[in-house]
């Protein structure tokens, strides 16, 4: 009768006593070491509550840390890691079940036992496949996004050694026991043939078995002890971060400026000013580098790497902890471990946050540091001008606020003044669409499309100000609040059912960050959502089928941040266009690099502009003639890029509204 024999082949009674005492001791040491690392988070960092909805959080832990959906997002490393991690989950459960079976409640007998053995062995094989994949990746392929340092190789070696050792133990037992059901442990049984073939005596085999067994539990104990200071620490910090990251926070909403008890703002000048969760996050980083690969600034050759950023925080936390713990001057974070240029290079596109399997929120950290730099006035001249202009004129161009609606003068009939008349849709036009001479035509086209679609819409004329999205992301929180106040006051005097905007940045902040009473529960729509709605409901008919082959670039603040992918695509289909997706589309779209206030800063040295890289990506698809965007800054960036890459005869950059207009 198949059954699991606890501590088979191990001398009693001292064998189990030794095993349990050493393993428990190791476990305790691990806990103590874990506590010492973890307590740094709350001793150095600021308090912050992340406890609500525990069930929802646990579900996220399951999703992101057990199933590991984000890791699976890339095929090779996904399969590789699943093999390694899931196998260990299974081995851990196997050991737990074996312990329960041995001391409390016998169930590992008969069919359940056979299933148990089979699963464990299959996962062993799966693990070894993963191990080979990992070894190949780390030593042969050596992708640049990885940190190719010995500590990672040692971890890999360690976990492989343990598994192989475990297989060895099983194989020796099977070579001795030779049960009728041995085939239910295919891997162990196969290996056992080797030992059987040697003709070794049962005594000899027992000796090998015991050696292998003790080696196994000693290395496992060693693993326990070293986890808190090895690259495997993420096994704990990952699930912890998945638990403590807030389930309901929209990606497009930045945290408010933290304040101390006196109501004064708290600036992230040192690690002490980060929250405990941010410090924990840095310990969760596995240096997988997916964020780095997705980062447009890094691709352009700038100094920013989201991965290096987290590593810098983590290393600083561990290196500087004595000084951080004391009452003395804390070492500077930005300007110290992290150069100013790193902080300013970020476009806040959110690709790093979206890719990270550990759910680390890099953008929050960058904005926190920017808030500090702004408070110190460590801002480059160009950005300074833009911010001064925003605060004085309500736009970054430094043009009079009275000139904001000049673009609308030729539009007939005159667009309704939402300040004076009630409208159904309040069209929040946005700075670029209003002031940039190259974009004004598109804005007028948009007005025409709205009119021909029979929409009851109006604009705020001179009362509109920059929505503040990018001012906030640059770290000028006071300016953001000021702009929100002004815009909210203007909106309060208007009667409308919904807000529509043509600028995804405006869309993002109005939808996610403006105070609830400013919007009064009324929806904020991007024009693609609104028009898609009208087309789908039949209120707007696109009569001409354009028959063009196009590709569509998902704007960061519309797509990745707010999940609007389908509406623009339906519109393109309705206009009779054939859509060919670029390799990096949807949530993987490459940012044009205008965001996060970058369009207001000195460009600096770049190896290849992300916008040019994107143009080449589109041009590589041969048959596509039109590059479609739905953000005014994308028009500016890509029309420039198509010139600087000399691809003007291959691609034309158009806003989606232009195609809709053509198709009407």
């Amino acid at each position: 009768m198949p059954e699991r024999i606890d501590f088979w082949g191990i001398p009693q009674p001292w064998g189990p006593i030794l095993v349990y005492s050493i393993v428990m001791l190791a476990f305790l040491v691990m806990l103590v070491r874990f506590y010492r690392q973890a307590s740094l988070w709350w001793r150095v960092g600021r308090p912050e509550k992340h406890w609500d909805q525990p069930l929802k959080r646990l579900l996220r832990v399951f999703n992101y840390s057990i199933v590991q959906v984000r890791v699976l997002g890339q095929r090779y490393p996904g399969v590789m890691h699943a093999a390694l991690a899931w196998a260990y989950f299974v081995f851990f459960m196997g050991t737990a079940l074996a312990t329960i079976n041995g001391h409390f409640f016998v169930f590992l007998e008969g069919s359940p036992y056979l299933a148990y053995k089979l699963i464990l062995d299959l996962f062993t094989v799966f693990f070894l496949v993963g191990a080979v994949m990992a070894g190949y990746r780390r030593f042969v392929t050596r992708p640049s996004r990885l940190t190719l340092e010995p500590r990672f190789a040692w971890s890999l070696f360690f976990i492989v050694f343990i598994v192989l050792n475990g297989l060895l133990v099983e194989s020796f037992r099977l070579a001795i026991q030779r049960p009728a059901w041995a085939a239910w442990s295919p891997a162990g049984w196969a290996l056992a043939q080797l030992w059987i073939a040697t003709g070794a005596s049962e005594q000899a085999l027992h000796g090998w078995h015991i050696s292998a067994y003790f080696t196994h539990f000693l290395t496992v104990s060693a693993l326990f002890i070293t986890i808190p200071s090895s690259t495997l620490f993420h096994m704990f910090t990952g699930p912890l971060n998945a638990f403590f990251s807030d389930p309901d926070r929209p990606a497009g909403r930045l945290p408010a400026m933290p304040q101390n008890e006196k109501g004064e703002p708290v600036y992230a000048d040192s690690l002490r000013k980060l929250t405990w969760k941010q410090l924990m996050e840095s310990d969760a980083c596995t240096e997988c580098g997916r964020c780095q690969d997705a980062c447009p600034a890094h691709a352009a050759g700038m100094v920013l790497s989201p991965k290096e950023l987290m590593v810098a925080v983590r290393d600083s936390l561990h290196k500087d902890s004595p000084r951080l713990n004391g009452n003395g001057q804390a070492p500077a974070l930005v300007g110290g471990a992290i150069p100013d240029a790193v902080v300013w290079s970020c476009t806040t596109c959110g690709a790093c946050d979206a890719e990270c399997p550990m759910l680390i929120e890099h953008v929050d950290l960058v904005v926190d540091m920017r808030r500090y730099l702004v408070s110190e006035g460590r801002v480059d001249n160009l950005l300074q001008d833009a911010l001064s202009n925003l605060s004085r004129y309500g736009n970054s161009f430094g043009q009079s606020e009275r000139a904001r609606s000049k673009w609308s003068l030729p539009v007939q009939p005159k667009i309704k003044d939402a300040r004076k008349e009630a409208v159904e849709y309040l069209w929040f036009v946005g700075d670029y669409a209003s002031y940039n001479p190259a974009l004004v035509e598109i804005t007028r086209l948009t007005a025409e499309v709205f009119q021909r679609a029979g929409l009851d819409f109006g604009i705020l004329y001179e009362a509109e100000r920059n929505s503040g999205n990018d001012a906030r992301r640059v770290g000028e929180e006071g300016l953001f609040e000021f702009l929100v106040e002004k815009n909210s006051a203007a909106l309060a005097k208007c009667t409308f059912k919904a807000i529509v905007t043509t600028d995804p940045h405006t869309y993002n902040t109005l939808k996610n960050e403006y105070p609830a009473d400013a919007l009064g529960g009324r929806p904020v729509l991007h024009y693609t959502e609104l028009l898609d709605d009208l087309v789908t409901s039949g209120k707007l008919v696109l009569q001409k089928k354009l028959g063009e082959r196009v590709t569509y670039h998902d704007p960061c603040y519309l797509g990745r941040y707010n999940g609007v992918y389908a509406a623009p695509r339906r519109l393109l289909a309705a206009a009779g266009c054939e859509l060919v997706e670029m390799p990096r589309h949807g949530p993987h779209a490459l940012c044009c690099s205008a965001g996060g206030g970058r369009i207001w800063m000195e460009e600096g040295e770049v190896r290849e502009r992300p916008s040019e890289n994107r143009m080449r990506e589109a041009a590589a698809m041969g048959s596509v003639k039109t590059f479609v965007v739905s953000c005014p800054k994308d028009i500016v960036m890509y029309r420039d890029a198509v010139k600087t890459t000399s691809l003007e005869d291959r691609l034309v950059v158009k806003d989606l509204i232009e195609l809709v207009h053509e198709a009407m």
């Binding site: 001249n381 160009l382 001479p437 000195e602 460009e603 600096g604």
Partner: protein, 324 residues
């Protein structure tokens, strides 16, 4: 009160500023109507020689060690001393880093009216009328000069420096200097500008960049054009203040005055501080997206095309024309 017109001659390190000759030309045009003489006021130490080509009826020369180099305080004391005795109709001074200091102090000290940024003075209905520029050159102001001694700070207008140069040296009268003890301001030393850089005042082709260049990275577009043309890049104050170009390339009120054959003004608004220093250009071509920019009033040709779009294409065309 007499009807003379005094002109304060500005000179630094042996060089007389163009504005002095321009003012002499203006004074000579007015003198017949006021019925007075044009008297050039020359202050310095051992500087009589500078009087040789001044187009004045006479030169009043004051010699004193404290006047060897210009300081506002010493100059103002000398003028105050003269004006305590004499009451000319007008005292013309250059609206420059030199004249402007003096005029203000004199006006307050002697309670004399002061008009600044004046481009021209003319006779109208028996009165002296002035035209000044204001608001960065976007507005002009006309008015009547009060009767009684009036101080006027002048900027270059319709007269050219040559019109103020005399073929024959005028009579020089040396006046006694007043007591110049207890001066609170003294010049220690000049800072030599970096000499390794080009001298833009000698260049025939200049490409001027202003605020419209927007960022430092875009300078290379201007450099390319300058290279293609065989010329040199110069700049207005905002660009130099940002350290994008050295001060040796500054064209303007506190920089250099240039007289190239061609001056291509990129993203320059044409405010007086800069524009008064390029009036000597034979031809100005202005590129500025603001159709109302004052630069278009002095340029021969202009375009509102964005310089960032235009420059690469233009540089290419220039290179083609030169090679082909």
């Amino acid at each position: 009160m007499n009807n003379d017109i005094y002109v304060l001659i500005e000179h630094v390190r042996g060089q007389i500023a163009d504005i002095s000759y321009i003012m002499l030309a203006q004074a000579n045009q007015l003198a017949p109507s006021t019925g007075g003489k044009v008297i050039a006021l020359l202050l310095g130490q051992g500087a009589q020689g500078l009087a040789s080509d001044l187009a004045a009826d006479r030169v009043a020369y004051i010699d004193h060690p404290a006047l060897a180099e210009f300081t506002g305080e010493a100059t103002q004391r000398v003028l105050a001393d003269i004006l305590a005795r004499e009451t000319p109709r007008l005292v013309l001074m250059g609206d420059t880093t030199i004249g402007s200091d003096v005029a203000g102090m004199l006006s307050a000290r002697l309670n004399l009216p002061l008009v600044s940024a004046c481009r021209a003075i003319r006779v109208e209905a028996g009165c002296l009328a002035f035209t000044s520029q204001t608001c960065g050159g976007k507005m002009m102001a006309d008015g009547v000069l009060p009767t009684g001694t009036t101080l006027v700070l002048m900027v270059p207008g319709a007269f050219k420096p040559d019109q103020g140069r005399a073929a024959k040296a005028p009579a020089v009268e040396t006046l006694a200097a007043p007591d110049l003890g207890g001066l609170r301001v003294s010049l220690k030393q000049y800072n030599e500008p970096a000499s390794e850089d080009v001298d833009i005042t000698r260049e025939a082709i200049l490409v001027g960049v202003g605020r419209g260049i927007q960022r430092e990275d875009n300078l290379e577009l201007a450099q390319e054009l300058a290279e293609a043309l065989g010329g040199v890049v110069c700049a207005t104050r905002p660009v130099v203040d940002q350290n994008w170009l050295p001060t040796t390339r500054l064209v303007g009120k506190s920089g250099k005055t240039v007289k190239p054959k061609v001056y291509i003004a990129l993203g320059i608004s044409g405010a007086p501080e800069h524009s008064e220093s390029i009036t000597g250009s034979e031809m100005i071509i202005a590129v500025n997206t603001d159709a109302a920019a004052p630069i278009f009033d002095m340029a021969k040709y202009g375009t509102t095309i964005d310089l960032l779009d235009l420059l690469p294409v233009l540089s290419e065309k220039v290179r083609q024309a030169k090679s082909g």
